[in-house]
Subunit: 253 residues, 4 copies
């Protein structure tokens, strides 16, 4: 019973390209990476998917409902407009961790990320039966009040980052979920079907270990945007109700 | 003796905007943030500065040699082209940590990041005497060989992230430096003048604590790009020589 | 029997915005307009549509096969990421001229382009029966050989522009078609079903009147991209065969 | 006595690239061209220059005050981030027509636009003595009132285009100026020093020949933005005063 469909998006042979024939200007690389990710976010968003920048040369998209032709068109569009090309690995599974693992294996079977012979491949078949995905949208409780006493904005960033890393580790290990930092004090996780008390327990452990308290909205839907928007509305409920976990039922539940 | 000039770039009142009148589609927010950062990187890059996305709603730029009129023009350009505005705080100091602290205080004096009355302010005066900056460009030793055995690409990301966080904490605490993840397995730090053995000691401690081994190139120059390019060439030397710390002397040394 | 579906995309109240509170920097406006158009091209391209920049504050897209939800999502995406909003008018008809006329009327019924009260409207219903579109892709015969003797690149531009304007006028009047300049020496027209000899006659008249000789590939398909790609392949045939009009049959013919 | 400095920006070997190995998707090419132009506008705008898209594969920038290092940095930035490269030709002269002619000759001496061997060249030396430029910003008098009776938005575009072409031809022939369409009903011309009555006479002839009545603001300054902003303010004066030609004196006059 596959539910989550993920697409691993890797820039082909990117590391070597950045230093050939000599190291390229960092501001150009930063702008290139940000733009490419922004286009990926828009491109999968046009079909109600989510994309995460992850390590920029290795990005992850939630692509439930996005078929092979859509994947190919998006890949062609990126490859037509950038000096580097991307390869895609697609897989679906009951858990996001399993889906990404398979997507990675499929892509690796066509060659490693730094294999000069692998270029613009698309491996794995989108699965129309992967028709339900769970998204969890977290943020830090009272981030302004708790962290603005810090003199240095960088220390706020380190605190948020610590909280994120602890949350990402635990969501992965305890809940087979993939959690990504999405800016500000926000973290979005793509999850298998999850009970509220399980997520609440993870949040508590993160607070104990890293001292950062998260609240979370959970949504489920046929696509990442449907699930993700439900999650965002549920998170608004946390803010208004002072609760730590809320869930918004979507039409498909 | 100020040496590093930093500019703190904050999106004004961003959190509330993202949920007004109701939560906005996440793919649009992701594309917006990535584009805005990409434009900032290009904009300061046009004057040989570096920009880091940090938390996206709070970005940090190394702006040695960039004057007040350049700052204003860049700010106007962003504010003319996005649905949100940015405010800038500028400061220079002997250490990056001190510069960012002052920049943050200056901006806060004009209003908090979520203060609806603060819009498009520019505080702090660029300092033409801030004419030398040190940049350190790190990457993970043999990241492909050590982490490709992992079945899951996400675990590689968690490992890199762990290494980054440990490095960032130590560079900040031990060396008054600000270290930012810049994609792949790369980390760039803006530093005060630093001895090689100090950096090597920090690298060793990061390896002990997080199990991730970094190598680093260090460069110094009149601008971020001059210093950063020297650092990138020095990092190439590490790769070729099998060393952990290299330094390239720039013209201004 | 509707065949072409067009969407008129207007920036709401753009003229006044560009001079409020005082005239904005032209380079920012130019970048804004170019980016917004680029995003529109990508956004409709994600669903196999074409977009033309026309006057930038008034753009035209060929949207066969793109439904109401796709339109709304694209509109929301643009409006979430730009400081200005766009309104859309959609219509289908047997000829592109008639479709655009109806799309314009629908939009105007909701308010003029400079009506401060009209914001982000979407008028007209996409029509799933509009399932065939004809695209014609023109370029200038031997543009390099004929125009490189000109000392000044601007004179080449004026010559191409003269040819384009004569072609656009005649395609509109003689063939109920909308022709747009798309860069270089290329013109793309969206057309009703057209016989080859009709197009050849128009090309001849353009050459007589403006002294610019065009060749053209014609394609027909279920979507703009399907028809447009067929047209581009047909134009390649002109180049190879030395002919003035070629046509590539698409699957749907 | 050079006054205007222009830079001709050509995409190297673009035509062949667009059809290799087979014709590329038009929406991707449109987005690519628009983005590249947007980046050029921002890049020269960062140094107070103006850029015009012209034919997109051949763009023109007014670059008074922009030195060789700035040119090289901008060129590198574009070439690092796009799948195509650009070459630059720079020249200054008393008139824009002469400057562009020389810039074109310099570039052509390094190879034609479709010469596969010419890649990323920069020819011609920026001239620090080119320290004054005149910009004229035109728009159509009462465009809304006169053209909204047209049923079809395309006919408005054809009317504006006709007016633009007649204006561009006359400005070039009668006034040694280069006029570019910049969206809406706006035209911007880069000019030598010009008397008001000369411009007024040209406007009258355009109205006689094409039936389109323009008004114009004229500005002069050390850079394109300084002159162009003065011109935009002067055009506001036309709108408020009901006059056809206004001029705003800039500091350098």
């Amino acid at each position: 019973v596959p539910s989550t469909q993920l697409t691993l998006v890797q820039i082909d042979n990117y590391g070597p390209w950045t230093v050939t024939p000599e190291p390229r200007r960092e501001p150009d690389l930063q702008a290139l990476q940000a733009r490419l990710y922004g286009d990926l976010a828009q491109g999968v968003g046009a079909h109600d998917g989510y994309a995460f920048y992850d390590r920029f040369d290795n990005m992850v998209a939630v692509t439930n409902g996005i078929d092979r032709e859509d994947h190919r068109r998006l890949q062609t569009s990126l490859n037509n407009r950038y000096p580097v090309s991307v390869s895609l690995g697609v897989a679906s599974a009951e858990t996001p961790v399993a889906a990404l693992s398979t997507a990675g294996q499929r892509l690796r079977a066509a060659g490693g990320a730094q294999d000069a012979d692998r270029r613009a491949v698309l491996r794995g078949d989108p699965d129309p039966t992967a028709d339900a995905v769970t998204m969890a949208h977290f943020d830090v409780v009272d981030v302004t009040g708790k962290y603005t006493d810090e003199l240095n904005p960088f220390d706020t960033s380190l605190a948020v980052e610590s909280g994120y890393l602890e949350l990402a580790r635990r969501m992965r290990r305890e809940n087979d979920s993939l959690a990504f930092f999405v800016g500000g004090d926000n973290v979005v996780a793509v999850c298998p079907a999850l009970a509220d008390d399980v997520v609440e327990r993870t949040i508590g452990r993160v607070q104990d270990a890293a001292g950062v308290e998260f609240q979370v909205g959970i949504g489920r839907g046929a696509t990442a945007v449907e699930a993700g928007m439900a999650a965002k509305h549920a998170l608004e409920d946390c803010r208004h109700n002072g609760t730590r976990v809320e869930r918004v039922a979507a039409a498909c539940d």
